[in-house]
Subunit: 405 residues, 2 copies
Amino acid sequence: MKLEGKVLVAQGGGPTAVINQSLVGAVLESRKFQQVTKVYGAINGVAGIINEDFIDLTQETTHNLEQVAKTPSSALFSTRDKPDEKYCKEMFDVMRAHDIRYFFYIGGNDSADTVRIVNEYAEISGYEFRAIHIPKTIDNDLTVNDHTPGYGSAAKFVSQAFIGINLDVRALPGIYIGIVMGRHAGFLTAASSLAQKYPDDGPHLIYLPERPFSLEKFIQDVKKVYDRYGRCIVAVSEGIADETGTPIAVKLMKHIEKDAHGNVNLSGGSLGQLLADHVKEKLNIKRVRSDTFGYLQRSFIGCVSDVDQHEAREVGEKAAQFAIWHNLDGSITIHRTGYYSVDYRLTNLHEVAGKTKIMPDEFINREGNNVTDAFKFYARPLLGTDMPSADRLRAPKVPKILKKE
Amino acid sequence: MKLEGKVLVAQGGGPTAVINQSLVGAVLESRKFQQVTKVYGAINGVAGIINEDFIDLTQETTHNLEQVAKTPSSALFSTRDKPDEKYCKEMFDVMRAHDIRYFFYIGGNDSADTVRIVNEYAEISGYEFRAIHIPKTIDNDLTVNDHTPGYGSAAKFVSQAFIGINLDVRALPGIYIGIVMGRHAGFLTAASSLAQKYPDDGPHLIYLPERPFSLEKFIQDVKKVYDRYGRCIVAVSEGIADETGTPIAVKLMKHIEKDAHGNVNLSGGSLGQLLADHVKEKLNIKRVRSDTFGYLQRSFIGCVSDVDQHEAREVGEKAAQFAIWHNLDGSITIHRTGYYSVDYRLTNLHEVAGKTKIMPDEFINREGNNVTDAFKFYARPLLGTDMPSADRLRAPKVPKILKKE
């Protein structure tokens, strides 16, 4: 029984370097099926569905789709709307009016939840409808999945950034603190560890939201590394908090306020700057620098993992196949089958929707200030086959003649 | 008359993505001359010369040198020391003790000045000595030179970053402010303009240290762009200042202090954050974001201009040839001979040492909030032959059926 009708694809949440691979995979695969009358794209994710802002991707050239696939960030644009029941009902009404029978939503765990609710309306209404969630998030925090499309490329950016920082801080020594995205899951920050090649390479310390952060311990850790190497490179998740769940930035602001007898910091100094100031003050080290990687890490063009690209493409294609070929609903999930190989399965939406995965204990060291080799083994293949590498001079020292001082 | 003796190479100042190309060019070319007895490298620039911290690069494998050439940031490490006369005299004494007859210093205008002073000591002392400055700076601010090695690769990073930001802010609209390095010269910030492909692409506004910055005009400019496109992307040099020369960050801090009746901002909120807060307050726009590109832009591995690589290599080789083959002193300078071709000349150290070039007037638009096509024409070839490109969907809109609201 072939279900005839239209396909609708949408993209939600933050951009990734490979989110358009999934879009193009779903579109091109859908266009191959005779029962698919049109392939639409919704502009601005779920918001575009409510507003009937559709474009007809059946009329897009295959070549341009391939060019778009290589371009980072949602080509259909995105939204931060998190639909409630009423919103989902409206979405469903619009889709029914347009004879949309297949809905593919590329996004994170909130997007999976949207797909779940819309699908329930279709079932209640007796409307024949297939809905599939296509995974995407640089946070790598979707349950069931071994990892998620978008993570590998962002991880590659973070790792390449820290390779450069290693070289920079080795040439001009000091302390460096890099703030990486990740409010709840530390996977992206942990990817900084893949910048290590030589035994004294940084990041020497990695702080993740999965572990409570202590300012006292942090200063001790930094001092220990600095005393040993004359430099210290630190990767910090933006989401670090203390044992009570208070964000460290808030905590440091309070310290400052207290010191200044009630004066308020109005510009909301960044976590990186606050940590750098704290280190300067406590350790009396002059050269302490920080960067907040910010938006660069999630949509940087030209820094993409080929493995991530391939997988993002396939989850898009798989969505079309499961829905149109097999008449199934669900969430596409990635499963590791070898080192390194993967397979794609269809998982019940309930198992992914609205849930968050964090770093497992075996990926974090006992002290809670670094990752384990198990994490590196897990993450390395996701960065792809063309990671650049740094090399050092190894020439022998020349004996001194004047031997002053 | 062949001058027999040792070669010494050193690197100074901030790192670039191609500074080791110049090092390896100078080392490999020097090793070809029979009158060169050894090729030394000074660890930590001029500081390493004072301390006799040399390594013997004659004993480095050619293959490893080639690997190091592809690695960003000074492989010999660097220093922020700016030698005075006494310091230069000490450097000269050490070099004489080690029978160093050829000195190549890779760096900016301060490094050129060091070379100049050391060379004067050699002349006064009647010591046969050739000293050459090899240009390097991401700021692109050396006089005489059409451009400088290191600039093209940093410019490529900035341009690629803004391509991603364009896509990101188009998918999730708002205002974005990116702070780029450059205290006195705006060349690196101006390179953001090369991210523009489509007519509505950003950065829509570019503010350079060459023009006084007015907060009122800035808000007007941003509003105009935002009203037109529903988004606004801004590139700002870290060095912007008002007509009196007061840095804008300092000025904004004072605004905040005044508003808060004397409360002091202790964490020194970044320029980007301060500008973003200012826009939020004045235009009442919710989504205003900022990034400070920071250290990522000068040593990011895997984002390098091939043109920059070739030129950095050649200025290193040329230094060795001018000094050893022709017995000359000076600064290697790059001259544009076609579109796009260059030639290298030897320039008197006095013409480069301690001097700073800024953006010429014809590169900046009349309003002082963007660059001209003349700049883009100038800068584009320096980014190299493999700049990635962003593509957009062009599918037609679907007519609405429900036409709600």
